[in-house]
């Protein structure tokens, strides 16, 4: 009986950790998936947009904490940081679209992929040149309080990360389903040839999609900074590739799928790392992904596309 309770505690404990880890992947992979829906391209710079957004968030948070820490309530500073970082980061997204992807609208897909990768490298190097190799630490925006409910330990930061990620996805869902802009995006992902003829310009919708994706990445970046405070110019590569894998696993262009697959990858990572030696984490995670894609090549919610794409 006792061992059963221990097992339950163990599972719940890791479930919370996995939810937290998965939240990052889910929110970031939505950015990949949205761009795919509109442009039929993966934005390989998205991981590095996330990285840049985290650095922007770091700058804003440090600034605000230095300016207002005494006389403004903590949650307000947090909110202001999030809003301003989202705003600035979305311009990074727009920049990537206009500079890197717009000139390549009619080029083969692989060329756009290379451009995305190269923009990513430029971002990483740019940050490295600007800030040097020293590791910066993200300031905590709220006091961390630990709770112990029935033997399961968690902090308010963890709960906040999970809740904010879920709220963000809900907000995105509303945006895409209920607003005019969201409708234009959905239309574009349905048929990107006919919709521009109906007066919806792809040169407005595409930057908007990049901006929304980058805004999501900005929130993910701030939350990531709260959970893992050490910043590193290459963090976008590690997180970004896994989120990209999640976007594919969920089915290209499917936001729901991307979110679910993001959580799934979080679960696989956490549970593999607790059960097996942690060096085996990538090996097992990628093997599972390989198996899933071998038997379900379109991912979870992928639509039946023709195999002949614009390559």
């Amino acid at each position: 009986m006792e061992s059963l309770i221990e097992l339950g505690q163990f599972i719940l404990q890791n479930l919370i950790n996995a939810l937290q880890r998965g939240s990052f992947y889910a929110v970031i992979s939505i950015g990949y998936s949205m761009v795919y829906g509109v442009l039929m391209l993966f934005n390989f710079a998205h991981g590095d947009i996330f990285m840049v957004a985290t650095y922007i968030g770091f700058g804003i948070a440090t600034l605000f904490l230095a300016l207002f820490a005494g006389f403004l309530p903590g949650p307000l500073i947090f909110l202001a940081t999030v809003v301003i970082t989202m705003f600035l980061a979305s311009w990074v997204g727009v920049f990537v679209e206009v500079a890197g992807y717009r000139p390549l609208r009619s080029a083969p897909r692989a060329s756009a992929a290379i451009t995305g990768l190269m923009i990513g490298i430029i971002f990483e190097t740019g940050i490295l040149i600007l800030l040097g190799a020293k590791r910066l630490s993200f300031p905590p925006l709220m006091e961390s309080i630990s709770y112990n409910v029935g033997g399961i330990y968690f902090t308010n930061v963890k709960v906040m990360i999970i809740v904010i990620s879920l709220l963000l996805m809900l907000a995105l869902h509303t945006f895409i389903q209920k607003t005019k802009w969201g409708m234009a995006m959905r239309a574009m992902s349905y048929d990107f040839l006919a919709v521009p003829l109906m007066g919806v310009s792809i040169n407005i919708i595409a930057p908007l999609t990049f901006a929304v994706g980058a805004g999501l990445a900005a929130v993910a970046g701030i939350l990531y900074g709260q959970a893992y405070p050490i910043l590193d110019p290459y963090m976008g590569v590690i997180i970004g590739w896994k989120a990209f894998v999640a976007a594919i696993l969920g089915g290209r262009g499917s936001i729901k799928g991307a979110a679910l697959a993001g959580y799934l990858i979080g679960f696989i990572e956490i549970f593999v790392a607790t059960i097996f030696p942690s060096t085996l984490r990538d090996l097992i995670a990628y093997s599972i992904i390989l198996l899933i894609l071998t038997f379900r090549p379109r991912g979870f919610f992928g639509m039946e596309h023709s195999t002949k794409l614009r390559l």
Binding site: L104, I114, M118, D282, S287, P297, R298, T307, L311
Partner: protein
């Protein structure tokens, strides 16, 4: 434009042999007088290693000296000798033209290798750069088979390379070297260099067997999903090696014997160019293009799409394995971190910079990215802003790469140039 046309007119009757002779003259000048006279009087600290770019970037005051050096040593002798030697290089080229193509090609290659050997021999750094560039050529050509000719977007090349590198290293370390991991040498170390090709080929075969893991899913899917499957493959290989402590795990594996001097790598590179060129111009190679352009149509025209895809992957992976084996024996140390995302970005940059569906494009891509990378080394981090920017510009203005969809015509390249003028 006018100058360029005049230049072209003046040198249109110089055969390949003439250019090689010009380069030979330049290299000899550098070899005998480069250090003692030319760089001394121009105030350069030593012979500029890669045409002086390193010196120029370190110390802008040296720019006039370096330009003078390049002019005196390279540009003027090459142009002069190439033009002046016309009177006998053209008849010689005409005689060679009458011999079988393979003989003429081999004579040219031996000549070319001699020049390269002299040039590289001037310092050790050049040797290393030339070796790594040639390995990159093999790698780029091999990925071009999959990404260019066959039209997949495969990201697994570092994985194939790692398999080849590790298998051949294990074989040479086990059989020919007394080391801690594998104990005493099983065979006499003298046999090593002679049996080294078999170790490389074993590595290549291992890589091509590994490629089946990517090739089989490619029957059902292509494009982005295949990119992920191949990416997953790459990560799996990397972390599998990291977890195999027998072969060093994440610490890596060192002490490979120096079985890969410049001539050996040169022979393998030329072999690779020749074999891949024959492969892609054969019926099998044309099938790759057919599958890339329209899978359903080619299937209905009796192309066996599955067999074709498998061949492309196994063939490309084989050469990547060979390249990996050579790489391991050049550096005498490998670790799994070398075969990861960074290597992938480098390989993709080389193939998409040079040009898809073209062997000459792959050579151009591999050489330019490597030489650019070495030449911009003094810029340190800024190098990683300049190279991506160049690549982005290439992608914007030439989306398929610099020289895409072109093949080498060895006959045309090597023929004597005076006949055409008589005809005109």
């Amino acid at each position: 434009m006018e100058i360029a046309r005049k230049f072209k007119n003046t040198f249109s009757n110089v055969p390949m042999l003439g250019w090689l002779l010009g380069v030979l003259a330049a290299v000899l000048i550098e070899y005998y007088w480069g250090y003692d006279y030319i760089s001394y009087y121009l105030g350069l600290p030593k012979i500029p290693v890669l045409f002086g770019t390193l010196i120029m970037l370190k110390d802008p005051m040296m720019i006039p000296g370096v330009i003078g050096y390049d002019l005196i040593v390279y540009v003027i002798p090459i142009l002069l000798i190439a033009k002046a030697s016309n009177f006998f290089t053209n008849p010689v080229a005409a005689i060679l033209e009458k011999t079988p193509l393979w003989l003429s090609a081999i004579i040219h290659l031996i000549f070319f290798y001699g020049v390269l050997h002299l040039w590289a021999g001037i310092n050790d750094y050049r040797v290393l750069v030339v070796k790594l560039t040639m390995i990159s050529i093999i790698l780029t050509i091999s990925i071009n088979v999959i990404n260019g000719y066959q039209g997949e977007f495969s990201c697994s090349h570092p994985g194939f390379m790692a398999i080849g590198a590790y298998i051949s290293s294990i074989i040479t370390l086990y059989f020919f070297v007394n080391d801690k991991t594998f104990g005493a040498a099983v065979l006499s170390p003298d046999l090593g260099p002679w049996l080294f090709p078999f170790a490389l080929i074993a590595g290549g075969i291992g890589a091509s067997l590994g490629s089946l893991l990517v090739a089989v899913p490619s029957f059902r899917t292509r494009g982005d999903y295949l990119a992920i499957i191949s990416l997953a493959f790459m990560f799996i290989i990397k972390s599998a090696i990291e977890n195999l402590n027998v072969i060093g795990g994440a610490r890596g594996m060192g002490g490979q014997p120096d079985y890969a001097p410049l001539p050996i790598i040169f022979i393998w590179t030329m072999l690779c160019i020749w074999v891949v060129h024959n492969f892609v111009t054969s019926i099998m190679g044309k099938a790759l293009n057919a599958v890339r352009d329209d899978e359903a149509a080619s299937e209905s025209m009796t192309v066996k799409t599955r067999k074709t895809k498998m061949t492309a992957f196994m063939f490309g992976a084989f050469w990547a394995g060979i390249a990996g084996g050579l790489f391991a024996h050049v550096l005498a140390y490998i670790n799994p971190g070398m075969f990861s995302i960074n290597r992938l970005a480098e390989i993709l940059a080389m193939v998409y910079f040079g040009g898809l569906n073209s062997i000459i494009g792959s050579i151009v891509g591999a050489v330019s990215i490597n030489v650019l990378g070495e030449a911009l080394r003094p810029l340190e981090l800024f190098k990683w802003i300049i190279i991506p920017l160049i690549l982005i510009l290439v992608m914007i203005f030439r989306p398929y790469g610099l020289i895409s969809f072109k093949e080498i015509n060895a006959k045309k390249l090597l023929r004597a140039k005076h006949k055409r003028e008589q005809g005109a």
